[in-house]
Symmetry: C2
Subunit: 334 residues, 2 copies
DNA sequence: GTGAAAGCGCTAACAG
DNA sequence: CTGTTAGCGCTTTCAC
């Protein structure tokens, strides 16, 4: 492979001059510049990234840590983050933890080994004390997940409001026995959402039946299971707030099979506003999360931190969530 | 950040010895090895990847070029490829072309700049002549897409059989007017699938009405549009074979809205066997693609090529496809 | 078993 | 404007 040296020789110039041309530095005469350009073209020369990374102490790569790509929410997040990164000529490395705390730590090592210029964490499997030491090696930005103790840039959604507005919508529709599904209870996203759920009840003087609260519900299979369980209960809920559209779709799909009318017998609220909400019959009422905006903001912040290196400071950006009412809760619409 | 030099000094040894310990080379006495290990721990030393990459001429990164992550088929492919790569301690860089041929070329440049050890192409937007020159810079493996002229390792599915078996299933169910949707006609995946579709017709002495063949159909929105168009036709088809489960879901969703019974009035076959096939009502008959197996095979082949450098040779692995019959084509099941 | 030294390909002082 | 030179951090001959 041709190196800068080869180009220099062919052009009859020094490596420095070639380097200057490559990096668009000033103070190169047009004539020599052309000489270099010609030599580069003739040799099919392209600068070696490893050498550049070593010399410049930056790789122009960002690690994005997610549970898995096939989770639609995180898939969308990765897609948007990659698009945002490419605008800065940065590459994104996908790091799937598959819900393993150890893998999360392994991937954070990319920061230590300087394989990436920064890490975007979208989820937090380890305790913050485990993560914090990695900050000595480069910027970490929290995107989606958040953590009180973490003094780093954070871009996330107002999850409490999400839980609140969805629940309020159900209550105002006349529901008072509302089932609740959520994911990993260690997540602050989950906690905040539940806080909103509870707040909505309290405000209207309603009690929550803890038997209707389900944890660790993630997939559409889980949704199906929950629906079945609900149907065995003596005193059934009239509505269910699920943590994701997949779960909601699973609930609705199973409800149909069991001959339960949605929303007449069971109103369903999803979360994320994925495509599937418009595909299901009834279409799913959900909470829209501005994922693209969050991704862009997170990447912008990351680029700023890489540039200015002042990344050990709390800096929180919160994006709004909004309720999208569709058929799965609208009795009148049926 | 601590370097190998720092470790050597602290251990009172040479860089060479430290390097030997890092790389588990033999001929290091246990005593000195322990000295090095201690020094490394004390300094929190981790080898710098850029330096290693430069020296070893490999980055342990693979670029995976896909249209976009949110396309469920490619999302699944990326997920599986990343899992396979991580087993080799390789990282995957996601490269989304967003259907732009230029971006495809841009991402192939990662090979030239030695930012990655190899590229996995899952789609082909440029003519093969545009791609071929990149082979001088490192291995390219085709995974999913295939190309006659490409003398490189290829792992793909038997798409012709997929088209054939789906169509035959419909014909045997008594359908003779079958609509057909496909994606990008430049893709050999698409072409092979259509070949199978046509072959099934020919074999049974059936004609294809070219008005029922739709190109560039990708999303569930597209599926909805097609359904609407179909319904304006004088002589409607009684079945439709779509290129993906999303499109099939769109068709079914819209059919319901228009009061058309699936499968009684319109049988629908999807492709990919995504989760959504089991979520829709009726559940979607589809073609299962062994994506995980394909991804693993492709990554194994890639690792082999990186190791042995003999990657400019045709080497084709074809995986089987299979029909999964569900409710969207089964009249009797209703 | 261990170390000295060269060099992977590049950029940035510094000198002119 | 251009070139000389010294590394970035690591691995690997080669010599002892």
């Amino acid at each position: 492979m041709a190196t800068i040296e080869d180009v220099a020789k062919l052009a009859g110039l020094s490596r420095t001059t070639v380097s200057r041309v490559i990096n668009n530095h000033p103070y190169v005469s047009e004539a020599k510049k052309q000489l270099v350009l010609d030599a580069m073209k003739q040799l099919g020369y392209v600068p070696n990234s490893s050498a550049r990374s070593l010399r410049n102490q930056k790789t122009e790569m960002i690690a994005v840590i997610i549970p898995r790509v096939m989770n639609p929410f995180f898939g969308q997040l990765v897609e948007s983050l990659e698009i945002a990164a490419s605008e800065y000529h940065y590459q994104v490395i996908v790091c799937q933890t598959l819900y393993s705390a150890k893998k999360e730590l392994d991937y954070l090592n990319l920061l230590k080994t300087k394989q990436v210029d920064g890490v975007i964490l979208t989820t937090l499997l380890n305790d913050w004390r485990q993560i914090e030491p990695f900050l000595d090696y480069g910027p970490i930005v929290l995107c989606n997940e958040f953590e009180e103790r973490a003094n780093i840039p954070t871009v996330h959604m107002n999850q409490e409001y999400g839980g609140y507005v969805a629940t309020t919508h159900l209550i105002e529709d006349g529901h008072s026995r509302i089932a609740y599904c959520c994911g990993n209870m260690k997540s602050n996203v989950t906690k905040a959402r539940e806080k909103g759920f509870r707040k909505a009840h309290t405000e209207r003087g309603l009690q929550i039946d803890e038997d209707l609260v389900f944890r660790n519900v993630f997939t559409f299979e889980d949704g199906k299971k929950i629906l079945k369980k609900l149907m065995t209960m003596e005193s059934r809920p009239t509505a269910i707030f699920t943590g994701s559209d997949e779960v909601a779709a699973g609930v609705i799909s199973e409800a149909k099979k069991m001959g339960i009318m949605v929303p007449e017998e069971l109103a369903v609220v999803g979360f994320d506003n994925q495509d599937i909400t418009e595909l299901m019959d009834p279409m799913i009422t959900t909470i829209h999360q501005p994922v693209k905006e969050m991704a862009h903001k997170a990447m912008n912040v990351m680029m700023d931190k890489i540039k200015h290196k002042n990344y050990k400071k709390k800096e929180v950006y919160q994006l709004p969530l909004s309720l999208v009412v569709r058929e799965s809760t609208e009795k009148s619409a049926q």
